[in-house]
């Protein structure tokens, strides 16, 4: 146990094991219930012979697929859920047996190995159907293209492509050329006409506006929830808890239930703030997190921070499905707003903008430091995270880099992880005059 000069424990196992009282933690339970229902609905639709689409978390145009009543499976989500439940290793080995390298993304490996012909579709989450169509939204991750190609060659799924240009002008901050928006919007109309042919359902702009109104509502409340991390102390963990909360904004956006869920979340966090309750017994350290989490040891990994009474005040990973701080949906311009949403996925922002966003979080959320979790699988996230560290250290912002993987359990070493994290907090404690 590390102790302060005053004898108060800075680090404790009690804090590591702390759970938010149930009456202030209902949003997580409700989220689990709704996610379970989502998986059941997809499996039921597949059983009835409905066409199944595979979609990607970044830049998914769920509103359009909802319009055509197409159930969507997100392999990233089922891969992380399988990993969270401890079921990833057999899928890694099955994929590697088919020729996938240990250096391939473990989302791809578990995503491909879970469904036929490599797997059976039976997973710890229940039955996951294989794709009939695969909606490729190339935004922020080049591996999306290669992943979807794997599905195409293994299963024969038809790929519907939407190419989303990177936010790439290094001289003009946040600049998106008009030709980018026009290109994405044109492709969306092209996909819409393919979906009309596939389903026999006619496109209705009015209906799309209605769906987007629910989306905008959920999105605004999602932003309000995350911005509660600015409060001192913060009532939520803007990384570890936000990752639970983000499921529905990806999976079921565009309906009343989801919009209601985010209102409920904001309400609960407000109640927490009023009661002085947060994700740890007290708030000793405020951290900004960059990177994808470790799912196979999620709770153990989180506890390495909780034991120091450290709270994540903001994180970039909950913005992979859209930088909610920056972007707002406008239901009055349905196609254009979806196009802009697709462009503003976090990993589709260039590295200068990403570094600036992290710096903004440090300042606006009054953070003590930055934790970068660099995962081997995802070079879209990881390449250049060392550069972020150099950048922040140059500005005297304490920064820790730790490495593991988001799905593959073979890359996690708790002892090493604990040593690095403990050393970081020891130095933060000194810096804050807590020791």
């Amino acid at each position: 146990m590390s102790a302060t000069a005053k004898g108060r424990a800075l680090m404790s196992e009690e804090a590591a094991q702390y759970k938010v009282p149930k009456e202030y933690n209902q949003a997580v339970a409700l989220q689990s219930q709704l996610v379970r229902k989502y998986f059941e609905d997809v499996a039921a639709a597949a059983a009835k012979g409905k066409k199944i689409a595979y979609g990607l978390v970044e830049a998914n145009p769920i509103e359009i697929l909802r319009l055509f009543d197409i159930p969507v499976v997100y392999p990233e989500v089922f891969s992380l859920q399988i990993s969270y439940k401890g079921g990833a290793l057999p899928l890694m080995l099955a994929a590697e047996n088919e020729g996938y390298s240990t250096d391939c993304c473990s989302y791809v490996k578990s995503g491909v190995a879970a469904v036929p012909p490599i797997g059976t579709g039976q997973t710890p989450l229940g039955y996951v159907p294989k794709p009939d169509i695969a909606v490729l939204t190339y935004s922020g991750c080049q591996i999306y293209i290669h992943w979807w190609e794997q599905y195409h060659y293994w299963t024969g799924a038809k790929i519907f492509t939407i190419d989303i240009p990177y936010v790439r002008d290094y001289e003009r901050d946040h600049y998106v050329p008009r030709h980018d928006i026009r290109y994405v919007a044109d492709q969306l109309m092209n996909v819409i006409s393919q979906l009309e042919q596939l389903t026999g359902i006619r496109y209705s702009e009015e209906k799309l506006r209605e769906i987007l109104t629910y989306t905008a509502d959920a999105w605004d409340h999602w932003r309000m929830a995350l911005e509660m991390g600015k409060r001192v102390p913060t009532p939520l963990d803007g990384y570890f808890e936000a990752i639970y909360y983000m499921s529905l904004i990806t999976l079921t956006r565009g309906d009343k239930t989801t919009a209601d869920y985010y209102r409920f979340l904001v309400d609960e966090l407000q109640r927490r703030a009023e009661a002085g309750i947060g994700p740890t017994p007290e708030e000793q350290f405020r951290l900004v997190f960059e990177g994808v989490p470790n799912y196979p040891y999620y709770k153990e990994w989180w506890s390495l921070f909780k034991r120091w009474n450290a709270r994540g005040v903001a994180g970039t990973y909950p913005k992979v499905a859209g930088v909610v701080d920056y972007f707002r949906f406008n239901p009055d311009k349905p196609i254009e707003t979806i196009a802009e949403y697709m462009i503003h996925a976090y990993c589709n922002w260039n590295m200068l903008m990403r570094a600036d966003l992290l710096k903004y979080y440090v300042d606006a959320y009054k953070a003590d430091g930055v934790v970068i979790h660099s995962i081997k699988s995802c070079r879209s996230f990881s390449m250049g995270q060392g550069d972020f560290k150099e950048y922040f250290v140059g500005m005297d912002i304490p920064t820790l880099i730790i490495e593991s993987d988001h799905v593959d359990p073979r890359y996690y070493s708790e002892a090493q992880m604990r040593n690095r994290i403990d050393a970081f907090f020891e130095s933060l404690a000194l810096r804050k005059g807590l020791k």
Binding site: G99, D103, Y170, M351, A355, R379, M383, G384, D387
Partner: protein
């Protein structure tokens, strides 16, 4: 003697080798070219870049292909992750240590996530450098892709014009396209020579000749290449009893030349993907009314597979089947750069096709800086023997 006079006096192969070796770290040839001609230098990362646009604006477009193990990775170790490819790390090191300072602009395209982020961190560390990132379209089957890429090339022109002080002139662009078409013809001729009579042209000579095309002014290169190929085609060398191997995967990071020589001891490497971009683009239509649109179409309408460019209409498995048949391939060597995900995924797609066709293959991983090749040589030798001796 000026640089160009000196170059003119040299044997083609001597010049090709000299500029190649100079381009691992120094780029002193290009620096002198800039000093003597007053031209501008544009460095671009693999795989494909529309060179005629830069050329017509007064730039010498130069392919930055990593340091091939000739530079110590110090800054790159701090700024980039250990699990990314060597070409990205050494290119960062070159930039961070000032070896690319005399380039007036650096260009990158969306070949992979690593190259994309590399462009950003170079910009952050070299804020005064013009870094252009082109997002090349992947949805090339839709008509909007052409309009998009046309506008994107327009954005490139906007970035380059102020540096060179020249405005884009469509007739100048047309002339540049014609010159680069000549270059393409000659490289294509060399490619065909390797396919038909690989014993006439050893791999390292072929490689120097290819790479020099990405380093020298196109006018000089075309002249030297013509003379070089004329000499090679007259060679009288005997064919050896070797299997014919197709090499796939070396489209970006450069394998060490001793590795390729070791491979060539065991087999004829009749086709590979080294410096594939300028070969892949093919002949650009000089007769197109708008030469910028001609460059656009050469990209979007190109139905030859390229690992780093998705095209919805391409069937990669059918393509490898055709390559194996057309090039009379005995075995496929997947030569995959360590940590190169695009190559690793294409390997699975292509191996599934080869399995169905019962075509033998091996997969070897490499890094640009590696220095031991015995294992690789033995692997290919074993494969060759199993084919020859059944």
């Amino acid at each position: 003697m000026t640089l160009l006079e000196d170059a003119a006096s040299k044997e083609p192969l001597e010049l090709f080798r000299e500029v190649t070796e100079d381009s691992y770290v120094d780029f002193s040839w290009q620096r002198r070219w800039k000093e003597e001609t007053g031209g501008r230098l544009l460095g671009y990362f693999p795989v494909y870049f529309p060179e005629p646009i830069a050329h017509s604006l007064g730039f010498l477009p130069v392919n930055i292909l990593g340091a091939s193990g000739y530079i110590e990775l110090e800054k790159a170790t701090a700024h980039t992750q250990s699990f990314v490819c060597s070409i990205s790390r050494s290119t960062f090191e070159l930039a961070a240590t000032g070896h690319l300072d005399h380039f007036d602009a650096l260009a990158f395209t969306n070949i992979c996530d690593v190259a994309r982020n590399l462009s950003g961190i170079i910009k952050r560390n070299k804020p005064d450098k013009t870094v252009v990132y082109l997002h090349m379209p992947i949805n090339n089957a839709v008509p909007h892709a052409k309009d998009y890429l046309y506008a994107e090339y327009g954005r490139l022109v906007e970035k380059l014009e102020p540096i060179s002080g020249r405005k884009l002139d469509m007739e100048a662009l047309r002339r540049s396209i014609a010159l680069y078409n000549e270059k393409w013809e000659l490289q294509h001729r060399m490619e065909q020579l390797r396919i038909e009579r690989p014993w006439l042209l050893p791999y390292d000579e072929y490689y120097y000749a290819l790479r020099a095309g990405q380093l020298l002014p196109v006018e000089l290169y075309v002249e030297k290449m013509r003379s070089f190929l004329g000499e090679v085609e007259k060679r009288d060398r005997k064919q050896q009893d070797k299997i014919r191997v197709l090499v796939l995967g070396d489209f970006c990071e450069q394998p060490a030349l001793p590795l390729m020589r070791a491979m060539e001891d065991a087999a004829y490497l009749v086709y590979d993907e080294a410096i594939i971009g300028p070969r892949w683009i093919g002949r650009v239509n000089e007769a197109e009314e708008d030469p910028l649109m001609a460059l656009v179409k050469a990209y979007t309408d190109n139905l030859r597979p390229l690992t780093t460019r998705y095209h919805p209409l391409i069937d990669k498995q059918q393509h490898i089947a055709e390559l194996v048949k057309d090039l009379r391939i005995d075995a496929v060597l997947f030569l995959v750069p360590k940590f190169c995900e695009p190559a690793l995924y294409d390997f699975v797609i292509r191996k599934l096709a080869l399995d169905r066709m019962h075509v033998p293959y091996v997969k070897l991983e490499y890094e640009e800086s590696e220095t031991t090749f015995e294992n690789a040589r033995m692997t290919l030798e074993t494969l060759a023997e199993s084919i020859i001796f059944g």
